[in-house]
């Protein structure tokens, strides 16, 4: 893995000058590497991770299990792409097991997500069935633990 990518994954949000210092690279090289990661579609974007329990925005999040019929020549790909294009779809995965696509969808309220499922998703040609589950509470968000007392540390500032 590229050392720049590894630093990003560490999640400390260093700026490129700081990354250059840590990695002992010229800053231009770090910038070039970031551009390469973006150009090659490895690094898709930069988004903050919010605590859904605390963020002000009203978002309803649902996971939807979708069964679809694969098409000759197209397989699942064409249908999956078609479903993925909807604004309401955050992520879409092909799964093994009891259903085919797992869709993460968001809306500003329950009604909006329900409408998306019934009007948009279920009516796509080739979609056989859907099962929608709404998120009630978040315990861990993209690697960040929530709702625990936190891992406070009484570590002394100077120790053996």
């Amino acid at each position: 893995m590229s050392s720049v990518l590894q630093l990003l994954l560490d999640g400390e949000r260093l700026n490129t000058a700081q990354m250059a210092q840590v990695l002992n690279l010229p800053e231009e090289e770090v910038n070039a590497e970031l551009s390469r990661l973006e150009d090659e579609g490895i690094l898709l974007g930069w988004r903050p991770i919010f605590n859904p329990e605390k963020s002000q925005e009203n978002v309803v999040r649902a996971v939807i299990e979708v069964k679809i019929s694969p098409e000759r020549e197209g397989g699942f790909g064409r249908l999956a792409a078609r479903i993925s294009r909807f604004e309401a779809v955050e992520s879409c995965y092909l799964m093994s097991g009891a259903y085919d696509l797992l869709v993460f969808a968001t809306g500003s309220d329950l009604r909006e997500v329900a409408l998306f499922v019934s009007e948009r998703l279920a009516s796509v040609d080739g979609v056989l069935s859907t099962a929608t589950h709404f998120r009630l509470r978040t315990y861990k968000e993209q690697g960040h633990l929530l709702l625990t007392a936190g891992e406070s540390s009484d570590r002394p500032a100077v120790s053996a």
């Binding site: 700081q18 210092q21 500032a157 100077v158 120790s159 053996a160």
Partner: protein, 391 residues
């Protein structure tokens, strides 16, 4: 009026200095906003699977004493681990003892083998407890200095020169706290030969062995003829980030382990069972987490050492541990003055080298077991301070 109670304290304890770390901690504690490069432990929390094993044991009601030597499952796992990583095998029934951290193991090893007046060779700068532990065992510490020229590895010739009649034990700890120094195999071979020649018992503290960044770590216990004259001490604190579990172990000849067990049995009884349960999980499944943490230390080390050298505080490359030990001699200040000055001027805490013995004079210990953001900021502040105080 009551007399001062000092008269009740034993002579050899009265004379014992307090840890220099303790003294410096008192100063830093008054400045909670300071960036601390003073911690002597991993900044990572113990990996969850290890913590979870301890919780599970608690839930199952595993709250009893264990065998004085420790749980046999743990001793078996230790044998497997030591064999895989060091190539030496110990009998779990008779040659392994679970202790409350390596500190306890070190203490009972010394007490088990030393008679009043015996002499013990150890290298310096070193972990703060070495000399006091020897004195508490009524023996006489003989320091062998190590230097930046040797990257704080031990010079066999210096050991030979320091030896005198009455020396019974040689203590080794590589990689070393506070210097990160290691000693290469060829030098250990010469020391091993000398140990055989003078019939020395070696106590080898391997606590930082997993955190070796360059080359293969060699323990003196691995060398031919050394297993039978070495007490091999190791623990979970550093590599597995388990300092608060207080769990370590000693491996060695059955007679010596039995002697240590007698002291352990009467003073400690056994190591806490919950920590022993956690240690079993650490050995079985902790490997990937250790590798990940080591990689982090490695990268942080490369950065901070480079920065110290850029700043003009000459720093050798520590081949292990999570400490850098730069020289502050260009400031012309004492280690303590440099550290208190840095703390006052820039709110950065590093530990004076003299806390680890007189040969640490002219150096400071900077732990890189902290986040990049803090290390980056600390390095900038140290640079600003050094520009003022160094000529």
């Amino acid at each position: 009026m009551e007399k001062d109670s000092t008269r009740f304290i034993a002579d050899h304890v009265i004379g014992l200095p307090r840890s220099g770390i303790r003294d410096f901690f008192a100063i830093v504690a008054a400045m909670p906003e300071a960036i601390s490069l003073g911690i002597g432990e991993p900044d990572f929390v113990t990996p969850w699977n290890i913590r979870e094993a301890s919780i599970f044991a608690l839930e199952k009601g595993r709250t009893s004493y264990t065998d004085n030597k420790g749980l046999i499952q743990l001793r078996r796992e230790i044998n497997v681990y030591v064999e895989n990583n060091f190539g030496i095998s110990y009998n779990p029934d008779s040659e392994i003892l679970i202790s409350v951290g390596v500190s306890e193991a070190l203490d009972i090893a010394l007490r088990a083998v030393l008679n009043p007046g015996d002499k013990v060779l150890y290298h310096e700068p070193c972990y703060v407890s070495y000399s006091p532990s020897i004195i508490l065992a009524h023996a006489q510490p003989i320091a062998v200095g190590t230097s930046a020229e040797d990257q704080f590895g031990i010079d066999p010739a210096a050991v030979e020169a320091a030896w005198e009649p009455g020396c019974k034990v040689l203590m080794l700890n590589f990689p070393t706290n506070p210097t990160g120094g290691v000693t290469e195999r060829d030098k250990l071979e010469r020391i091993a030969k000398f140990a055989v020649e003078k019939d020395l018992l070696v106590i080898s503290d391997e606590i930082y062995s997993e955190l070796t960044f360059e080359g293969e770590h060699t323990s003196i216990a691995m060398l031919p003829g050394m297993k039978e004259r070495t007490i091999f001490l190791h623990g979970f604190s550093k590599a597995f980030a388990m300092t608060g579990f207080r769990i370590g172990y000693a491996c060695g000849p059955a007679e010596l382990i039995e002697a240590m067990m007698k002291i352990h049995q009467y003073s400690m009884l056994c190591a806490p069972i919950l920590s022993q349960e956690a240690a079993i999980e650490a050995l079985k499944n902790g490997g990937p987490a250790v590798a990940k943490m080591k990689e982090q230390y490695h990268q942080r080390r490369d950065f901070i050492v480079r920065r110290f050298n850029e700043i003009g505080l000459t720093c050798h490359l520590p081949k292990g541990s999570f400490y850098a030990f730069p020289s502050i001699q260009s400031s012309g200040m004492s280690s303590m003055d440099f550290c208190t000055g840095l703390l006052e001027a820039e709110s950065v805490a590093v530990v004076p080298g003299t806390a680890f013995g007189p040969s640490g004079a002219g150096f400071v210990r900077a732990s890189f077991s902290t986040s990049y953001k803090r290390i980056l900021e600390a390095a900038d502040r140290i640079e600003r301070y050094a520009e003022k105080v160094c000529s």
